[in-house]
């Protein structure tokens, strides 16, 4: 129901808005036509799907979506669940570390590669290849390397450091860092690539000017280059941020949320509620909370970042 309403809304948005100002219809006609797929996706899939999800979060839907209203029951249950609280805390730790480290590592690698190093192609491919492998596989490999009996810990102990202990997969205190190591390994290459594309877009004259002014290399990067790469950083932030919020497959493959519930994350809470517990309503309530958080963080920033400046 909600979806068919959304379809109507698209039709109106597509034609209605320009119709009010007839003089503007032709001004950007090609652009408007070209943007139709985007408008459709935004309204029907993202808005439609989100509204649908929110509506059903107030129901007792189990295996099938059904409109049996239960008010805020699903939300009360959500916030009284220890697993949900643990999930949020975990995501916060993972998110902050992942965001900072991915940006720093990604940019540093890109800047180093941009300094006319030999074998740039080979290095770039080495940094990027993990991105080609799915999270299922990433989780599997790292689960194995970090397995205390088979992997790293065992090797280092055999080399003589008997007391060496690094067992994130079996230690609930540091398990999130085990996931972080794998996540960074998989994701930083892409960010490096985007940063590199950005660096290559910077005018050679900037460097010349900086050199003439006698500004050091590091200083030039921080004072001049990074501010110029603002759009690139925005892209990277969205990419990293959305990856963090969606963090799920990696956890399933690497730890299944364990030991115990110590590496649970919100997306996993959503999935287990929806498909394991056959409680769609609970899953939708959890995803609505995730979405609300994203909107609260994103909207003010988006208005600052994308609002205003018009062109063309």
């Amino acid at each position: 129901m909600a979806l068919s309403d959304a379809t109507d809304a698209t039709a109106q948005a597509g034609q209605g808005t320009p119709a009010r100002k007839p003089t503007r219809i032709f001004k950007n006609l090609s652009s408007k036509i070209a943007s139709l797929p985007m408008v459709f996706t935004a309204l029907v899939i993202f808005v439609g799907g989100t509204v649908w999800t929110i509506v059903y979060s107030f129901t007792s839907s189990g295996l099938l979506p059904r409109l049996k209203w239960v008010g805020l029951d699903q939300y009360e249950r959500l916030w009284s669940s220890r697993k949900w609280i643990v999930s949020i805390e975990n995501l916060a730790i993972y998110g902050i570390c992942s965001l900072i480290l991915t940006l720093v590592i990604g940019f540093t690698l890109a800047a180093l590669l941009d300094r006319k190093v030999r074998g740039e192609g080979v290095l770039r491919t080495i940094f990027l290849y993990p991105f080609a492998l799915s999270f299922i596989v990433t989780g599997l490999v790292w689960q194995w390397i970090l397995n205390p009996q088979l992997g790293l810990q065992n090797i280092i102990r055999e080399m003589g450091w008997e007391s060496f202990a690094f067992d994130p997969m079996n230690n609930s205190k540091i398990v999130m860092f085990g996931l972080l190591i794998a996540g960074l390994w998989q994701g930083t290459g892409l960010i490096m690539c985007i940063m590199l594309a950005g660096l290559r877009g910077i005018d050679e004259d900037i460097w010349k000017a900086a050199r003439v002014d006698g500004i050091g290399t590091v200083k030039t990067y921080i004072r001049v280059i990074i501010p110029m790469m603002r759009p690139v950083f925005v892209t990277s932030l969205v990419l990293i941020g959305s990856g963090i919020v969606k963090l799920y497959d990696l956890v399933v493959a690497q730890t299944s949320g364990g030991p115990g519930i110590s590496s649970q994350v919100p997306a996993m809470y959503v999935m287990t509620s929806m498909f394991g517990g056959q409680n769609l309503g609970q899953g939708f309530a959890a995803s609505t909370m995730m979405l609300v958080t994203v909107v609260i963080i994103l909207v003010p920033w988006a208005i600052l970042e994308f609002g205003g400046k018009k062109r063309g």
Binding site: M38, F46, L113, L123, T125, L140, E204, V270, V295, G307
Partner: protein, 304 residues
């Protein structure tokens, strides 16, 4: 090479400051850091390759970093053509062409749509365009498993449920936010003068896009290509949910079945071989894209 940069090389090559000598302290630091980091990235690949070449008994006794005592290609053969998915024992080969058939249209359409979106959003804004873009940006953060059922209903109503077309549309839709952002931000960094000059010459929306913008945007196309190839090729959930016949399932369904089902003893060697085989297509594209990257830089030099 690093030293002999002539004027032309400086114009077309990397844009960083030119190091003066091959063996000064800065260079040693740069190469040192890069090599250490490269080791961290390469280690799991090494483990995967080495493991995939070992026999199962050797894996159980030895350590995972040791090179194989006896190299065997059996796991690769098994992963490709013998591993079982339920009762069908024909390995990954079963889904390879299905994956290709899904990848190509999804890839072309999604990159094309996203580049046009980005172009329209940066150069030809219209009333409300930023709102739609904002919605897409929030959409990037929605875990797509949540959208599973609404999309099933949507596709059913459109009569596309279970078809390849439906799946392609889903890939296009979910690839749209991040790729649109990528192109929008890239085009936004192109000097406005270029665009204005073209307008003065009477070029329209499509003429500017094809003649001026496209040739300048190879690096960003490469990045978009990388994101999409990886995302679509590695997708399991959409492929298995929106395609309604096991004969047309993508390769990842077989990969999932090989990796997730334990046949007595976990066959790590076959898992690793299956993983590497599945990753080959994106990897080949990464290698090939390296060249495009360099060409893109050369093209980008025009704008300076």
């Amino acid at each position: 090479m690093a030293d002999s940069g002539t004027m032309t090389a400086a114009m077309t090559g990397p844009r960083g400051p030119k190091p003066k000598r091959a063996f000064n302290r800065t260079n040693i630091m740069i190469y040192g850091t890069l090599i250490v980091v490269a080791l961290y990235y390469a280690l799991p690949l090494y483990v995967m390759v080495v493991t995939s070449l070992k026999g199962l008994p050797e894996i159980q006794v030895g350590n995972i970093f040791a090179p194989p005592m006896e190299v065997t290609f059996e796991p690769w053969v098994k992963a490709w053509s013998q591993a079982c998915t339920g009762i069908n024992c024909d390995g990954l080969s079963r889904g390879f062409w299905n994956s290709v058939r899904i990848l190509i249209p999804s890839l072309i359409i999604s990159v094309a749509v996203a580049s046009v979106n980005g172009y329209a959003l940066s150069m030809w804004k219209f009333k409300g365009s930023e709102v739609f873009f904002g919605i897409l940006m929030i959409g990037a953060f929605i875990p797509y498993q949540i959208m599973l059922y609404p999309i099933v209903i949507l596709l059913r109503e459109a009569g596309l449920y279970g078809s390849l077309t439906g799946l392609v549309l889903v890939h296009v839709a979910f690839g749209m936010p991040i790729n649109t952002l990528l192109f929008r931000n890239y085009f936004a960094s192109i000097p406005e003068e270029l665009f204005k000059a073209a307008r003065v010459d009477g070029a329209g929306f499509w003429a500017i896009f094809f003649r001026i913008m496209l040739p300048m945007s190879l690096p960003i196309f490469v990045v978009s290509l990388i994101i999409q190839v990886t995302g679509i090729w590695n997708d399991f959930l959409f492929g298995v949910t929106y395609i309604s016949s096991p004969d047309r399932y993508p390769m990842t369904v077989q990969l999932n079945n090989i990796v997730n089902s334990v046949q007595g003893v976990k066959e790590y060697n076959v898992n690793m071989a299956a993983t590497l085989l599945t990753g080959l297509v994106p990897l080949v594209i990464y290698f090939a894209s390296g060249k495009l990257f360099v060409r893109g830089i050369a093209a980008g030099a025009v704008k300076g």
